[in-house]
Symmetry: C2
Protein backbone atom coordinates (compact mmCIF):
# COMPACT_ATOMS: atom_id res chain seq x y z
CA UNK A 1 0.00 0.00 0.00
CA UNK A 2 1.34 3.43 -0.92
CA UNK A 3 1.51 6.36 1.41
CA UNK A 4 -1.05 8.21 -0.66
CA UNK A 5 -3.62 5.44 -0.28
CA UNK A 6 -2.88 5.19 3.41
CA UNK A 7 -3.75 8.84 3.79
CA UNK A 8 -7.16 8.28 2.29
CA UNK A 9 -7.78 5.08 4.15
CA UNK A 10 -10.27 5.04 7.00
CA UNK A 11 -10.38 2.56 9.83
CA UNK A 12 -12.82 -0.31 9.33
CA UNK A 13 -15.71 -0.86 11.70
CA UNK A 14 -16.26 -4.42 12.87
CA UNK A 15 -19.31 -5.78 14.66
CA UNK A 16 -19.06 -8.89 16.83
CA UNK A 17 -21.88 -11.15 17.99
CA UNK A 18 -20.70 -12.44 21.36
CA UNK A 19 -21.95 -15.16 23.73
CA UNK A 20 -20.80 -15.58 27.31
CA UNK A 21 -21.69 -17.31 30.55
CA UNK A 22 -22.10 -14.61 33.17
CA UNK A 23 -20.97 -16.61 36.20
CA UNK A 24 -17.26 -15.94 35.72
CA UNK A 25 -17.51 -12.22 34.95
CA UNK A 26 -18.15 -9.03 36.84
CA UNK A 27 -20.45 -8.01 34.04
CA UNK A 28 -19.59 -6.68 30.60
CA UNK A 29 -18.08 -3.30 31.39
CA UNK A 30 -14.43 -2.84 32.31
CA UNK A 31 -13.73 -2.36 36.02
CA UNK A 32 -10.22 -2.08 37.43
CA UNK A 33 -8.95 -5.34 38.86
CA UNK A 34 -12.05 -7.36 38.00
CA UNK A 35 -12.59 -9.89 35.21
CA UNK A 36 -15.03 -8.44 32.68
CA UNK A 37 -16.14 -9.43 29.17
CA UNK A 38 -15.01 -6.10 27.73
CA UNK A 39 -11.49 -6.51 29.03
CA UNK A 40 -11.35 -10.10 27.74
CA UNK A 41 -12.34 -9.00 24.23
CA UNK A 42 -9.99 -5.99 24.22
CA UNK A 43 -7.03 -8.06 25.42
CA UNK A 44 -7.78 -10.76 22.85
CA UNK A 45 -7.87 -8.21 20.03
CA UNK A 46 -4.63 -6.64 21.29
CA UNK A 47 -3.02 -10.09 21.24
CA UNK A 48 -4.24 -10.65 17.67
CA UNK A 49 -3.46 -7.26 16.15
CA UNK A 50 -1.30 -5.28 18.54
CA UNK A 51 -4.04 -2.62 18.52
CA UNK A 52 -5.50 -1.12 21.65
CA UNK A 53 -9.17 -0.59 20.93
CA UNK A 54 -12.31 0.06 22.93
CA UNK A 55 -15.02 -2.56 22.50
CA UNK A 56 -18.44 -0.85 22.65
CA UNK A 57 -21.39 -3.04 23.60
CA UNK A 58 -25.10 -2.64 22.90
CA UNK A 59 -25.42 -2.27 26.66
CA UNK A 60 -23.69 -3.48 29.75
CA UNK A 61 -24.85 -6.69 31.35
CA UNK A 62 -24.65 -7.15 35.11
CA UNK A 63 -22.44 -9.56 36.98
CA UNK A 64 -23.82 -13.09 36.45
CA UNK A 65 -26.00 -12.16 33.45
CA UNK A 66 -25.40 -14.19 30.29
CA UNK A 67 -25.43 -13.29 26.63
CA UNK A 68 -26.30 -15.34 23.61
CA UNK A 69 -26.25 -12.38 21.22
CA UNK A 70 -24.47 -9.39 22.75
CA UNK A 71 -23.35 -7.04 19.99
CA UNK A 72 -20.03 -5.22 20.22
CA UNK A 73 -18.33 -2.89 17.75
CA UNK A 74 -14.82 -1.50 17.38
CA UNK A 75 -12.69 0.29 14.80
CA UNK A 76 -9.52 -1.15 13.40
CA UNK A 77 -6.80 -0.52 10.83
CA UNK A 78 -6.38 -4.25 10.42
CA UNK A 79 -7.07 -5.79 7.00
CA UNK A 80 -7.97 -9.19 8.45
CA UNK A 81 -11.18 -10.57 6.90
CA UNK A 82 -14.11 -10.74 9.34
CA UNK A 83 -14.15 -14.56 9.42
CA UNK A 84 -10.51 -14.58 10.46
CA UNK A 85 -11.12 -11.87 13.04
CA UNK A 86 -13.66 -14.16 14.68
CA UNK A 87 -11.30 -17.13 14.75
CA UNK A 88 -8.30 -15.10 15.88
CA UNK A 89 -10.15 -13.47 18.79
CA UNK A 90 -11.64 -16.81 19.86
CA UNK A 91 -8.14 -18.29 20.02
CA UNK A 92 -7.33 -15.79 22.80
CA UNK A 93 -10.57 -16.06 24.77
CA UNK A 94 -11.23 -18.39 27.69
CA UNK A 95 -13.89 -21.09 27.58
CA UNK A 96 -16.81 -19.06 28.90
CA UNK A 97 -16.89 -16.40 26.18
CA UNK A 98 -16.80 -16.69 22.38
CA UNK A 99 -17.40 -14.59 19.29
CA UNK A 100 -20.19 -16.30 17.32
CA UNK A 101 -19.86 -14.02 14.31
CA UNK A 102 -17.83 -11.05 13.12
CA UNK A 103 -18.91 -8.72 10.31
CA UNK A 104 -17.60 -5.66 8.52
CA UNK A 105 -20.21 -2.93 8.87
CA UNK A 106 -20.91 0.70 7.99
CA UNK A 107 -18.46 3.16 9.57
CA UNK A 108 -21.35 4.78 11.42
CA UNK A 109 -22.74 1.54 12.87
CA UNK A 110 -22.87 1.78 16.66
CA UNK A 111 -23.80 -1.26 18.74
CA UNK A 112 -25.73 0.87 21.24
CA UNK A 113 -26.84 3.98 19.36
CA UNK A 114 -27.96 2.09 16.24
CA UNK A 115 -29.99 -0.50 18.16
CA UNK A 116 -33.74 -0.55 17.55
CA UNK A 117 -34.50 -2.94 20.34
CA UNK A 118 -33.56 -6.02 22.30
CA UNK A 119 -34.75 -9.49 23.11
CA UNK A 120 -34.07 -10.82 26.59
CA UNK A 121 -34.75 -14.37 27.76
CA UNK A 122 -35.17 -15.43 31.37
CA UNK A 123 -34.93 -19.14 32.25
CA UNK A 124 -36.27 -20.61 35.47
CA UNK A 125 -36.15 -24.31 36.43
CA UNK A 126 -38.78 -25.96 38.61
CA UNK A 127 -38.60 -29.02 40.82
CA UNK A 128 -37.89 -30.19 44.33
CA UNK A 129 -34.13 -30.05 43.90
CA UNK A 130 -31.70 -27.49 42.58
CA UNK A 131 -30.92 -27.60 38.85
CA UNK A 132 -27.34 -28.67 39.64
CA UNK A 133 -26.56 -29.62 36.03
CA UNK A 134 -27.48 -26.07 34.94
CA UNK A 135 -25.75 -24.39 37.87
CA UNK A 136 -25.36 -20.65 37.31
CA UNK A 137 -27.28 -20.69 34.00
CA UNK A 138 -30.89 -20.88 35.18
CA UNK A 139 -32.82 -19.58 38.18
CA UNK A 140 -34.70 -22.06 40.38
CA UNK A 141 -38.24 -21.87 41.65
CA UNK A 142 -39.56 -25.06 43.27
CA UNK A 143 -43.17 -24.77 42.23
CA UNK A 144 -44.43 -24.26 38.72
CA UNK A 145 -46.15 -20.97 37.97
CA UNK A 146 -49.71 -20.32 36.94
CA UNK A 147 -48.91 -19.46 33.33
CA UNK A 148 -52.39 -18.17 32.59
CA UNK A 149 -52.24 -15.64 35.42
CA UNK A 150 -48.74 -14.52 34.46
CA UNK A 151 -49.70 -14.10 30.80
CA UNK A 152 -52.72 -12.06 31.78
CA UNK A 153 -50.58 -9.86 34.03
CA UNK A 154 -47.92 -9.46 31.35
CA UNK A 155 -50.45 -7.75 29.08
CA UNK A 156 -50.43 -4.72 31.40
CA UNK A 157 -46.69 -4.30 30.81
CA UNK A 158 -46.84 -4.37 27.02
CA UNK A 159 -46.78 -1.01 25.26
CA UNK A 160 -45.22 2.37 25.95
CA UNK A 161 -45.18 3.10 29.67
CA UNK A 162 -43.20 4.81 32.39
CA UNK A 163 -41.42 1.80 33.93
CA UNK A 164 -40.11 3.70 36.94
CA UNK A 165 -41.62 1.10 39.28
CA UNK A 166 -39.45 -1.56 37.61
CA UNK A 167 -36.23 0.46 37.40
CA UNK A 168 -33.37 -0.10 39.81
CA UNK A 169 -33.61 2.37 42.66
CA UNK A 170 -29.98 3.41 42.41
CA UNK A 171 -29.56 4.55 38.83
CA UNK A 172 -31.53 7.28 37.17
CA UNK A 173 -31.87 7.43 33.40
CA UNK A 174 -33.04 10.66 31.80
CA UNK A 175 -36.42 9.09 31.23
CA UNK A 176 -37.94 5.90 32.53
CA UNK A 177 -40.39 5.64 29.63
CA UNK A 178 -39.80 2.53 27.54
CA UNK A 179 -41.70 0.40 25.02
CA UNK A 180 -42.24 -3.32 25.39
CA UNK A 181 -43.33 -4.96 22.15
CA UNK A 182 -44.07 -8.45 23.41
CA UNK A 183 -43.82 -10.77 26.40
CA UNK A 184 -44.04 -14.50 25.82
CA UNK A 185 -44.07 -16.95 28.71
CA UNK A 186 -43.58 -20.56 27.70
CA UNK A 187 -43.19 -23.84 29.52
CA UNK A 188 -39.92 -25.57 28.69
CA UNK A 189 -38.81 -29.02 29.75
CA UNK A 190 -38.42 -28.70 33.50
CA UNK A 191 -38.96 -24.96 33.69
CA UNK A 192 -40.39 -21.73 32.36
CA UNK A 193 -38.92 -19.39 29.74
CA UNK A 194 -39.79 -15.68 29.65
CA UNK A 195 -39.20 -13.74 26.43
CA UNK A 196 -39.17 -9.93 26.46
CA UNK A 197 -38.87 -7.89 23.28
CA UNK A 198 -38.79 -4.13 23.45
CA UNK A 199 -37.25 -0.92 22.25
CA UNK A 200 -34.91 -0.79 25.20
CA UNK A 201 -34.87 -1.67 28.87
CA UNK A 202 -33.94 0.19 32.04
CA UNK A 203 -31.26 -1.06 34.36
CA UNK A 204 -32.58 -4.24 36.05
CA UNK A 205 -35.99 -3.76 34.40
CA UNK A 206 -36.24 -7.30 33.05
CA UNK A 207 -35.23 -8.93 36.34
CA UNK A 208 -37.66 -6.69 38.22
CA UNK A 209 -40.50 -7.53 35.85
CA UNK A 210 -39.71 -11.26 36.13
CA UNK A 211 -39.76 -11.06 39.93
CA UNK A 212 -43.16 -9.36 39.84
CA UNK A 213 -44.51 -11.83 37.28
CA UNK A 214 -43.46 -14.61 39.65
CA UNK A 215 -45.56 -13.03 42.40
CA UNK A 216 -48.54 -13.23 40.05
CA UNK A 217 -47.64 -16.76 38.96
CA UNK A 218 -47.65 -17.83 42.62
CA UNK A 219 -51.01 -16.10 43.25
CA UNK A 220 -49.41 -13.72 45.69
CA UNK A 221 -51.10 -10.99 43.66
CA UNK A 222 -53.81 -10.91 41.00
CA UNK A 223 -52.75 -10.10 37.42
CA UNK A 224 -54.21 -6.57 37.64
CA UNK A 225 -51.75 -5.84 40.43
CA UNK A 226 -49.04 -5.38 37.75
CA UNK A 227 -51.11 -2.53 36.31
CA UNK A 228 -51.31 -0.85 39.70
CA UNK A 229 -47.57 -1.28 40.31
CA UNK A 230 -46.81 0.22 36.90
CA UNK A 231 -49.14 3.19 37.56
CA UNK A 232 -47.65 3.81 41.00
CA UNK A 233 -44.15 4.40 39.64
CA UNK A 234 -42.96 3.08 42.99
CA UNK A 235 -40.21 0.44 42.98
CA UNK A 236 -41.14 -0.56 46.53
CA UNK A 237 -44.59 -1.66 45.34
CA UNK A 238 -43.14 -4.14 42.81
CA UNK A 239 -41.95 -7.69 43.47
CA UNK A 240 -38.40 -8.85 44.14
CA UNK A 241 -35.56 -8.68 41.61
CA UNK A 242 -35.12 -12.11 39.99
CA UNK A 243 -31.54 -13.45 40.24
CA UNK A 244 -29.01 -12.63 37.52
CA UNK A 245 -28.23 -16.29 36.72
CA UNK A 246 -31.49 -16.76 34.76
CA UNK A 247 -31.09 -13.75 32.45
CA UNK A 248 -29.78 -13.83 28.86
CA UNK A 249 -29.30 -10.93 26.48
CA UNK A 250 -30.61 -12.93 23.55
CA UNK A 251 -30.51 -10.61 20.55
CA UNK A 252 -30.12 -6.97 19.60
CA UNK A 253 -32.11 -5.64 16.64
CA UNK A 254 -30.75 -3.13 14.11
CA UNK A 255 -32.22 -1.48 11.00
CA UNK A 256 -29.85 -3.68 9.03
CA UNK A 257 -28.72 -6.91 10.73
CA UNK A 258 -24.90 -7.00 10.64
CA UNK A 259 -24.97 -10.79 11.00
CA UNK A 260 -27.57 -11.60 8.36
CA UNK A 261 -25.11 -13.77 6.43
CA UNK A 262 -24.17 -15.65 9.57
CA UNK A 263 -27.77 -16.32 10.49
CA UNK A 264 -28.54 -17.65 7.04
CA UNK A 265 -25.73 -20.19 7.24
CA UNK A 266 -25.82 -21.21 10.91
CA UNK A 267 -28.26 -23.63 12.41
CA UNK A 268 -30.35 -22.56 15.34
CA UNK A 269 -28.00 -23.64 18.09
CA UNK A 270 -28.64 -23.32 21.78
CA UNK A 271 -25.12 -24.09 22.93
CA UNK B 1 -38.93 -47.01 72.55
CA UNK B 2 -38.11 -49.64 75.13
CA UNK B 3 -34.75 -51.32 75.49
CA UNK B 4 -36.25 -54.65 74.43
CA UNK B 5 -37.50 -53.27 71.13
CA UNK B 6 -34.17 -51.58 70.50
CA UNK B 7 -32.45 -54.94 70.81
CA UNK B 8 -34.60 -56.41 68.06
CA UNK B 9 -34.35 -53.36 65.89
CA UNK B 10 -32.16 -53.46 62.80
CA UNK B 11 -30.70 -50.47 61.01
CA UNK B 12 -32.71 -49.26 58.05
CA UNK B 13 -31.26 -49.24 54.57
CA UNK B 14 -31.78 -46.08 52.52
CA UNK B 15 -31.20 -45.65 48.81
CA UNK B 16 -30.53 -42.20 47.35
CA UNK B 17 -30.86 -41.12 43.74
CA UNK B 18 -28.23 -38.41 43.33
CA UNK B 19 -27.45 -35.86 40.60
CA UNK B 20 -24.26 -33.83 40.40
CA UNK B 21 -22.22 -31.67 38.05
CA UNK B 22 -18.79 -33.27 37.79
CA UNK B 23 -16.75 -30.10 37.21
CA UNK B 24 -16.37 -29.26 40.89
CA UNK B 25 -15.53 -32.75 42.16
CA UNK B 26 -12.57 -35.10 42.06
CA UNK B 27 -15.00 -37.86 41.17
CA UNK B 28 -17.38 -39.75 43.44
CA UNK B 29 -15.02 -41.69 45.68
CA UNK B 30 -13.47 -40.22 48.82
CA UNK B 31 -9.86 -39.11 48.48
CA UNK B 32 -7.97 -37.40 51.27
CA UNK B 33 -7.87 -33.63 50.91
CA UNK B 34 -9.94 -33.53 47.72
CA UNK B 35 -13.57 -32.55 47.23
CA UNK B 36 -15.60 -35.64 46.31
CA UNK B 37 -19.31 -36.43 46.04
CA UNK B 38 -19.03 -39.23 48.60
CA UNK B 39 -17.53 -36.97 51.22
CA UNK B 40 -20.17 -34.30 50.54
CA UNK B 41 -22.99 -36.80 51.09
CA UNK B 42 -21.40 -38.35 54.18
CA UNK B 43 -20.77 -34.95 55.78
CA UNK B 44 -24.32 -33.84 54.98
CA UNK B 45 -25.77 -36.95 56.62
CA UNK B 46 -23.52 -36.50 59.63
CA UNK B 47 -24.79 -32.93 59.95
CA UNK B 48 -28.40 -34.16 59.76
CA UNK B 49 -28.20 -37.18 62.04
CA UNK B 50 -24.90 -37.15 63.90
CA UNK B 51 -24.19 -40.55 62.34
CA UNK B 52 -20.95 -41.38 60.58
CA UNK B 53 -21.92 -43.63 57.69
CA UNK B 54 -20.32 -44.86 54.51
CA UNK B 55 -22.20 -43.94 51.34
CA UNK B 56 -21.81 -46.79 48.81
CA UNK B 57 -22.33 -45.87 45.15
CA UNK B 58 -23.33 -48.02 42.19
CA UNK B 59 -19.86 -47.26 40.91
CA UNK B 60 -17.38 -44.45 41.10
CA UNK B 61 -17.46 -41.72 38.51
CA UNK B 62 -14.27 -40.00 37.40
CA UNK B 63 -13.30 -36.42 38.00
CA UNK B 64 -15.45 -34.21 35.76
CA UNK B 65 -18.07 -36.90 35.03
CA UNK B 66 -21.68 -35.98 35.85
CA UNK B 67 -24.57 -37.95 37.23
CA UNK B 68 -28.27 -37.58 36.70
CA UNK B 69 -29.14 -40.85 38.43
CA UNK B 70 -26.24 -42.11 40.55
CA UNK B 71 -27.56 -44.53 43.17
CA UNK B 72 -26.10 -44.59 46.67
CA UNK B 73 -27.07 -46.63 49.71
CA UNK B 74 -26.30 -46.43 53.41
CA UNK B 75 -27.54 -47.88 56.68
CA UNK B 76 -28.94 -45.79 59.47
CA UNK B 77 -30.57 -46.03 62.89
CA UNK B 78 -32.46 -42.84 62.15
CA UNK B 79 -36.26 -42.96 62.06
CA UNK B 80 -36.53 -40.01 59.70
CA UNK B 81 -38.98 -40.72 56.84
CA UNK B 82 -37.30 -41.01 53.43
CA UNK B 83 -38.86 -37.78 52.11
CA UNK B 84 -37.43 -35.87 55.03
CA UNK B 85 -34.05 -37.56 54.61
CA UNK B 86 -33.94 -36.18 51.07
CA UNK B 87 -34.78 -32.66 52.18
CA UNK B 88 -32.47 -32.70 55.18
CA UNK B 89 -29.45 -33.90 53.20
CA UNK B 90 -30.12 -31.35 50.45
CA UNK B 91 -30.09 -28.59 53.02
CA UNK B 92 -26.44 -29.42 53.75
CA UNK B 93 -25.26 -29.92 50.16
CA UNK B 94 -23.71 -27.28 47.93
CA UNK B 95 -25.34 -26.15 44.70
CA UNK B 96 -23.72 -28.68 42.35
CA UNK B 97 -25.05 -31.86 43.97
CA UNK B 98 -28.55 -32.83 45.09
CA UNK B 99 -30.51 -35.88 46.20
CA UNK B 100 -33.38 -36.27 43.73
CA UNK B 101 -35.08 -39.05 45.69
CA UNK B 102 -34.61 -41.10 48.87
CA UNK B 103 -36.28 -44.44 49.50
CA UNK B 104 -36.40 -47.04 52.23
CA UNK B 105 -35.31 -50.33 50.69
CA UNK B 106 -34.65 -53.98 51.54
CA UNK B 107 -31.83 -54.48 54.05
CA UNK B 108 -29.91 -56.47 51.45
CA UNK B 109 -30.18 -53.86 48.72
CA UNK B 110 -26.71 -52.86 47.53
CA UNK B 111 -26.28 -50.00 45.06
CA UNK B 112 -23.42 -51.79 43.31
CA UNK B 113 -23.94 -55.51 43.91
CA UNK B 114 -27.70 -55.43 43.21
CA UNK B 115 -27.35 -53.47 39.97
CA UNK B 116 -28.47 -55.23 36.78
CA UNK B 117 -27.10 -52.60 34.45
CA UNK B 118 -26.53 -48.98 33.69
CA UNK B 119 -27.47 -46.27 31.24
CA UNK B 120 -24.82 -43.69 30.34
CA UNK B 121 -25.37 -40.62 28.20
CA UNK B 122 -22.65 -38.71 26.38
CA UNK B 123 -23.41 -35.20 25.10
CA UNK B 124 -21.37 -33.45 22.44
CA UNK B 125 -22.04 -29.97 21.05
CA UNK B 126 -21.17 -28.97 17.47
CA UNK B 127 -20.45 -25.58 15.96
CA UNK B 128 -17.72 -23.13 15.15
CA UNK B 129 -17.50 -21.80 18.68
CA UNK B 130 -17.24 -23.37 22.10
CA UNK B 131 -20.51 -24.17 23.90
CA UNK B 132 -19.75 -21.48 26.49
CA UNK B 133 -23.26 -21.55 27.96
CA UNK B 134 -22.84 -25.30 28.65
CA UNK B 135 -19.26 -25.01 29.87
CA UNK B 136 -18.13 -28.19 31.61
CA UNK B 137 -21.38 -30.05 30.89
CA UNK B 138 -20.93 -31.06 27.24
CA UNK B 139 -17.99 -31.96 25.05
CA UNK B 140 -17.36 -29.95 21.88
CA UNK B 141 -16.63 -31.18 18.41
CA UNK B 142 -16.72 -28.51 15.67
CA UNK B 143 -18.07 -30.64 12.85
CA UNK B 144 -21.19 -32.75 12.95
CA UNK B 145 -20.72 -36.50 12.74
CA UNK B 146 -21.88 -38.90 10.07
CA UNK B 147 -24.64 -40.47 12.18
CA UNK B 148 -25.25 -43.28 9.70
CA UNK B 149 -21.62 -44.42 9.82
CA UNK B 150 -21.50 -44.20 13.62
CA UNK B 151 -24.73 -46.17 13.99
CA UNK B 152 -23.44 -48.85 11.67
CA UNK B 153 -20.18 -49.07 13.62
CA UNK B 154 -22.00 -49.16 16.96
CA UNK B 155 -23.70 -52.42 15.94
CA UNK B 156 -20.34 -54.20 16.28
CA UNK B 157 -20.12 -53.16 19.92
CA UNK B 158 -23.57 -54.41 20.92
CA UNK B 159 -23.71 -57.81 22.61
CA UNK B 160 -21.43 -59.79 24.92
CA UNK B 161 -17.78 -59.16 24.07
CA UNK B 162 -14.34 -58.85 25.58
CA UNK B 163 -13.97 -55.06 25.71
CA UNK B 164 -10.28 -55.12 26.59
CA UNK B 165 -9.52 -52.78 23.67
CA UNK B 166 -11.82 -50.18 25.25
CA UNK B 167 -10.68 -50.60 28.85
CA UNK B 168 -8.35 -48.11 30.51
CA UNK B 169 -4.80 -49.39 30.21
CA UNK B 170 -4.02 -48.82 33.88
CA UNK B 171 -6.68 -50.79 35.72
CA UNK B 172 -7.29 -54.49 35.38
CA UNK B 173 -10.65 -55.98 36.27
CA UNK B 174 -10.90 -59.72 36.77
CA UNK B 175 -12.55 -60.01 33.40
CA UNK B 176 -12.97 -57.51 30.60
CA UNK B 177 -16.03 -59.29 29.21
CA UNK B 178 -19.13 -57.10 29.34
CA UNK B 179 -22.57 -56.94 27.70
CA UNK B 180 -23.89 -53.91 25.86
CA UNK B 181 -27.64 -54.05 25.35
CA UNK B 182 -28.11 -51.00 23.15
CA UNK B 183 -26.39 -47.96 21.71
CA UNK B 184 -28.53 -45.09 20.44
CA UNK B 185 -26.99 -42.08 18.73
CA UNK B 186 -29.36 -39.17 18.27
CA UNK B 187 -29.06 -35.62 17.01
CA UNK B 188 -30.05 -33.07 19.61
CA UNK B 189 -30.42 -29.33 19.16
CA UNK B 190 -26.88 -28.18 18.46
CA UNK B 191 -25.18 -31.51 19.15
CA UNK B 192 -25.21 -35.28 19.33
CA UNK B 193 -26.36 -37.50 22.21
CA UNK B 194 -24.98 -41.04 22.68
CA UNK B 195 -26.94 -43.49 24.83
CA UNK B 196 -25.30 -46.67 26.11
CA UNK B 197 -27.23 -49.32 28.02
CA UNK B 198 -25.47 -52.39 29.28
CA UNK B 199 -24.95 -54.86 32.08
CA UNK B 200 -21.91 -53.00 33.31
CA UNK B 201 -19.01 -51.01 31.95
CA UNK B 202 -15.25 -51.16 32.43
CA UNK B 203 -13.30 -48.19 33.74
CA UNK B 204 -13.35 -45.51 30.98
CA UNK B 205 -15.11 -47.89 28.60
CA UNK B 206 -17.86 -45.46 27.60
CA UNK B 207 -15.46 -42.57 26.97
CA UNK B 208 -13.19 -44.88 24.97
CA UNK B 209 -16.08 -46.16 22.87
CA UNK B 210 -17.31 -42.59 22.26
CA UNK B 211 -13.83 -41.52 21.11
CA UNK B 212 -13.67 -44.43 18.68
CA UNK B 213 -17.20 -43.76 17.42
CA UNK B 214 -16.11 -40.17 16.74
CA UNK B 215 -13.29 -41.50 14.53
CA UNK B 216 -15.91 -43.38 12.53
CA UNK B 217 -18.25 -40.36 12.50
CA UNK B 218 -15.44 -38.26 11.02
CA UNK B 219 -14.63 -40.94 8.40
CA UNK B 220 -11.20 -41.46 9.87
CA UNK B 221 -12.11 -45.16 9.88
CA UNK B 222 -14.86 -47.24 8.28
CA UNK B 223 -17.57 -48.65 10.60
CA UNK B 224 -16.10 -52.19 10.36
CA UNK B 225 -12.92 -50.84 11.99
CA UNK B 226 -14.73 -50.97 15.36
CA UNK B 227 -15.13 -54.72 14.89
CA UNK B 228 -11.39 -55.10 14.23
CA UNK B 229 -10.47 -52.97 17.24
CA UNK B 230 -12.79 -55.04 19.45
CA UNK B 231 -11.28 -58.30 18.14
CA UNK B 232 -7.72 -57.05 18.65
CA UNK B 233 -8.16 -56.52 22.39
CA UNK B 234 -5.54 -53.80 21.99
CA UNK B 235 -6.28 -50.41 23.58
CA UNK B 236 -3.66 -48.81 21.34
CA UNK B 237 -5.71 -49.71 18.25
CA UNK B 238 -8.80 -47.84 19.50
CA UNK B 239 -9.55 -44.12 19.20
CA UNK B 240 -8.92 -41.41 21.79
CA UNK B 241 -10.68 -41.18 25.15
CA UNK B 242 -13.53 -38.65 24.90
CA UNK B 243 -13.35 -35.92 27.57
CA UNK B 244 -15.07 -36.42 30.94
CA UNK B 245 -17.22 -33.29 30.67
CA UNK B 246 -19.65 -34.91 28.20
CA UNK B 247 -20.39 -38.04 30.26
CA UNK B 248 -23.43 -38.60 32.48
CA UNK B 249 -24.27 -41.63 34.60
CA UNK B 250 -27.94 -41.45 33.66
CA UNK B 251 -29.61 -44.37 35.42
CA UNK B 252 -28.84 -47.59 37.26
CA UNK B 253 -31.20 -50.54 36.83
CA UNK B 254 -32.22 -52.93 39.64
CA UNK B 255 -34.51 -55.97 39.80
CA UNK B 256 -36.86 -53.76 41.81
CA UNK B 257 -36.54 -49.99 41.22
CA UNK B 258 -36.11 -48.32 44.63
CA UNK B 259 -37.40 -45.04 43.18
CA UNK B 260 -40.48 -46.35 41.39
CA UNK B 261 -42.78 -44.11 43.46
CA UNK B 262 -40.64 -41.08 42.74
CA UNK B 263 -40.61 -41.75 39.01
CA UNK B 264 -44.38 -42.10 38.93
CA UNK B 265 -44.87 -38.71 40.53
CA UNK B 266 -42.06 -36.67 39.03
CA UNK B 267 -42.06 -35.17 35.59
CA UNK B 268 -39.27 -36.00 33.24
CA UNK B 269 -36.94 -33.16 34.12
CA UNK B 270 -33.59 -32.47 32.54
CA UNK B 271 -32.40 -29.93 35.05
Amino acid sequence: MTEASAEHRAPRRIALCVKYAGAGFYGFQRQPGLRTVQEGLELAWAAVSGEKVVMHASGRTDSGVHAWGQVVHFSTWSDLPAQQIRRAINAFLEDDVAVRAAALCDPDFHSNASALGKHYVYLCAHGDTRPVLRKGTVAWHRKEFDLKAMREGAQYLIGRHDFKAFAAAKRSSKTTVRSIHSIHIQPMRGGTAFHFRGGGFLYRQVRNMVGSLWDVGMHKHAPIWLHHVLQSGDRKKAGPTAPAEGLYLWRVFYPSDPFADYRRSAKNRIL
